[in-house]
């Protein structure tokens, strides 16, 4: 009999009763998800599922019960504080989890950045605001551009839009780009990832004058309002609450005089998901119109089959069909991403003067 490296570690094997292993695992699955119930709920609901199954449902149920038990016995406060402690620790420079890419800054821009980082007197800020062209004047903004790209998995590496867009923008003169894509995030669950706070941090760090964003693929879920009310998707008040969130988010950029390009969601494979994406797109389009220097970039028609249906393959300029979508029916292959990037650049060029290097 052959034996291909069947090493089991120690030279002298020891044998243990399976009962001990079972005991260890039973305690692990009882105590760990109980202790980590908040995280389990967030983790199991936010991450992209590889199919629903009874175990996943069981874990979720158990963690939800654990949350109730903790509340009943007055333990919630301790666990919340403990949860925040670890979050804060990981947010510290030692274990910072969210990192986008930082534009490589050339000498002049570096000086500018340092200048910008210094707090400007209020008067000067007001003066700048007056000078800054607004949408109604229809003038194209002059470089240099400091462009912030942010969003969910579409913007993170692998989603199809973020990194090709970053690459493309770097082909233009006097452009610095910073991108942050956070998988499974959105505007629905600030308890998982707070985009409002992150955007403010990024703005103060990077000082952008342009932002390109794409959200929504994880947002078709229940919302918890500021007064603790839960509104399920599709129920009355959901659109109003979500619109408010989009508006609040856009306001951060408006206040900082940042031109915004909001990329709409493309057509999706699953019908129910497509309908939800359409609803979200309508909200984005409306809210963008309500904010100064914000523009909506629709992508729906770009990726359909010409008749409004989902298409996995699309023709390139030479007519050859290439795979545009990932098998999940949501995200994009490199080719599909390029189609959206092209459109974003086209739309951006109407408002900002991009000069090729």
């Amino acid at each position: 009999m052959e034996n291909h490296n069947l090493k089991s570690g120690d030279k002298t094997p020891n044998f243990t009763s399976p009962k001990l292993a079972i005991l260890v695992f039973v305690f692990i699955i009882t105590l760990v998800p109980f202790y980590e119930s908040k995280r389990v709920v967030i983790w199991e609901t936010q991450r992209e599922a590889q199919g629903d199954n009874v175990f996943r449902a069981g874990v979720l149920k158990y963690a939800s019960v654990a949350e109730i038990v903790k509340k009943k016995f007055g333990l919630s406060n301790f666990f919340d504080k403990e949860h925040d402690f670890w979050l804060a620790l990981k947010k510290s420079p030692i274990l910072l989890e969210e990192t986008g890419t930082l534009g490589v800054i050339d000498g002049n821009e570096k000086e500018k950045k340092i200048e910008n980082l210094l707090e400007k007197p209020e008067e000067e800020k007001q003066k700048e605001e007056l000078i800054k062209p607004v949408q109604s004047l229809q003038t194209r903004l002059e470089p240099p551009f400091r462009i912030l790209i942010l969003g969910d998995s579409f913007i993170a590496v692998g989603g199809g839009v973020g990194n090709p867009l970053e690459s493309e923008l770097l082909k233009y003169k006097e452009v610095a780009v910073k991108r942050l894509g956070k998988v499974s995030s959105g505007l629905s669950r600030p308890d998982y990832f707070n985009w409002n706070l992150t955007a403010q941090e990024l703005i103060s760090q990077f000082n952008p004058n342009t932002a390109i964003m794409m959200f929504g693929s994880n947002d078709n879920q229940g919302l918890v309002t500021s007064d603790g009310k839960v509104i399920s998707y599709g129920k009355e008040g959901w659109n109003e609450e979500y619109s408010k969130r989009v508006s609040d988010f856009l306001e951060i950029f408006e206040k900082n005089n940042i031109t915004v390009f909001w990329i709409g969601l493309p057509v999706m494979k699953e019908k129910y998901f497509s309908e939800r994406a359409q609803n979200l797109n309508a909200i984005y389009e409306t809210e963008v119109k309500n904010h100064k220097n914000s523009y909506f970039v629709p992508t729906w028609d770009l990726l359909d089959d010409g008749q409004g249906n989902y298409a996995a393959y699309l023709p390139d300029e030479k007519g050859q069909y290439k795979l545009a979508r990932v098998s999940d029916g949501i995200h994009l292959q490199f080719f599909g991403g390029r189609i959206i990037v092209k459109e974003v650049i086209k739309k951006a060029e109407e408002k900002i003067k991009l000069k090729i290097k």
Partner: protein, 478 residues
């Protein structure tokens, strides 16, 4: 169901309990093993299961035919069996690449042809279980093992859930023997296997996932937007990522199988401590390297047909290793490693010949220095070769190298935690064996209640230190 998820731990605990309770009834036990593996696999996509069953059944019968047929036809039957497996692999893995290239080629000659557009999803683990099936057929052909008459056993061998998604690629002879008479009655080296599960989780959640999210994904996607230092950090970070991701997965696979009473071949043997590239390939992804040696290199003639033929065979093997991972940049990665292997073998062959003339023993300290620098340069070489492996395209690999040597770039801030993680990563791979031994010893000495407490605390700590979302395992793509 990824290993590092709660749902998997729930599933595994149930399997663990039933696995050991059903052993009294060997058939029920094996049926249960098959059903749990099929359930595990079907959670990803029920269609994957159909393909798995079809390939398993085909190979069960093809091996039986090879075993029982008279001489002349055996080779032909083996050829058919291997061909069918390779076609299945090729179809799911390379069809679209083949379609696009063929259409382009035909257009060059003026034909406007379009091949069918098939949105093919690569079934998870296909590359791994097809290799398992091929090795089984060849082993039967070589009379190393007899074809099994138990379809149930064979189906378990192909689908065993700890190994199905990313190996290690166990050989049928080793695996099937473990299914006899209800298999193991007790857990061998329980503490070692438990340690491997914890270590695997730590490698994946704390080190690999963080480095993926905080540096390698972004830098490799758009290298031109980064400074030389950050690019260099990303190169070494990816060396840590790929090793910790894949060996972490393998550790967990070995650990979970071990707790069910199964021995699994090791897949990594501290590869970054190799003193040369030949040594590296003996210690990296061992189950695939061994597979390539036994079923490609040796049948091609290995080193028995002269030096030139040996180098050629090495290159073929490394080309196939590249192709097994994918097309384009993966092939370049394989080829670069092939060239390095040839250069090293050439050096060794020349040295061996001159050695005969000049029989002067090398002093120990000189040998140690050679080993140290050999190891250092091997690590640097391997790390740089990963650029071609990790980049999304050949174009991006070239962009990466160009940016790395673009001295006009200015500095870029980076976060200190990347350095800390790199340092921890280096520390773990330098002292991995000692860490495993120490942790195993600690657990062995603990009484049961303390062991339980220790395990629960370790799990909580790993989860606390991990990111909130885990990127998928790299080797799930292959």
């Amino acid at each position: 169901m990824l290993f590092p998820t709660f749902e998997f731990f729930y599933f595994f605990t149930l399997v663990l309990i039933l696995n050991w309770s059903l052993k009294r009834w060997p058939i029920a036990w094996r049926l249960f093993l098959l059903l749990s593996s099929y359930y595990f696999y079907s959670v990803w996509d029920i269609n994957f299961l159909l393909i798995l069953v079809a390939i398993s059944v085909f190979n069960f019968f093809s091996a039986l035919l090879i075993d029982k047929t008279i001489l002349g036809l055996r080779k032909f039957l083996l050829f058919i069996a291997v061909l069918v497996n390779l076609l299945a692999l090729g179809f799911f893995k390379y069809y679209d690449f083949f379609r696009v290239s063929t259409e382009l080629l035909l257009r060059k000659f003026g034909f406007l042809a379009t091949l069918p557009l098939l949105e093919i999803i690569l079934p998870l683990g296909l590359s791994f279980y097809v290799f398992r099936a091929i090795s089984y057929n060849i082993d039967v052909y070589r009379r190393k093992i007899a074809a099994t008459f138990s379809l149930l056993d064979f189906l378990i061998y192909i689908s065993f859930f700890p190994q199905i998604l990313s190996g290690p690629v166990a050989r049928a002879g080793d695996f099937l023997a473990q299914l006899k008479d209800g298999g193991a009655k007790k857990i061998e080296n329980f503490y070692h296997h438990l340690t491997l599960i914890f270590l695997g989780l730590f490698k994946k959640l704390v080190i690999s996932s963080y480095l993926v999210l905080s540096i390698t994904d972004d830098v490799f996607a758009v290298p031109e937007n980064h400074s030389q230092l950050v690019l260099l950090l990303a190169v070494f970070a990816y060396s840590i990522v790929i090793y910790f991701d894949f060996s972490g997965y393998s550790d967990m696979a070995i650990g979970f199988a071990g707790l069910l009473g199964f021995k699994t071949p090791i897949n990594f043997d501290t590869p970054y401590l190799s003193s040369n590239i030949k040594d590296f390939w003996r210690r990296w992804h061992i189950s695939i390297s061994d597979w390539m040696r036994d079923y490609v290199y040796i049948p091609l003639g290995g080193n028995r047909k002269g030096l030139i033929r040996k180098y050629f065979n090495l290159m073929i093997v490394m080309f196939l290793v590249g192709l097994w991972h994918g097309t384009n940049h993966f092939i370049i990665w394989g080829a670069i490693n092939g060239i390095a292997l040839i250069i090293f073998n050439l050096y060794q062959d020349i040295k061996d010949r001159s050695f005969i003339i000049n029989i002067k023993p090398v002093e120990k300290w000189r040998e140690d220095i050679f080993k140290f620098f050999g190891g250092f340069f091997t690590f640097i070489f391997v790390s740089f070769s990963w650029i071609f492996f990790r980049s999304e395209s050949t174009e991006n690999s070239i962009k990466f190298l160009k940016s790395l040597f673009d001295f006009s770039k200015n500095s870029e801030p980076f976060k200190i935690h990347i350095l800390i993680l790199l340092f921890i990563g280096f520390f773990v791979f330098l002292f991995e064996k000692q860490i495993i031994k120490k942790l195993t010893n600690i657990q062995q000495r603990l009484p049961a209640p303390l062991l339980i407490l220790f395990s629960v605390l370790v799990m909580i700590l790993i989860l606390k230190l991990g990111p909130d979302i885990i990127p998928p395992f790299i080797y799930f793509n292959f």
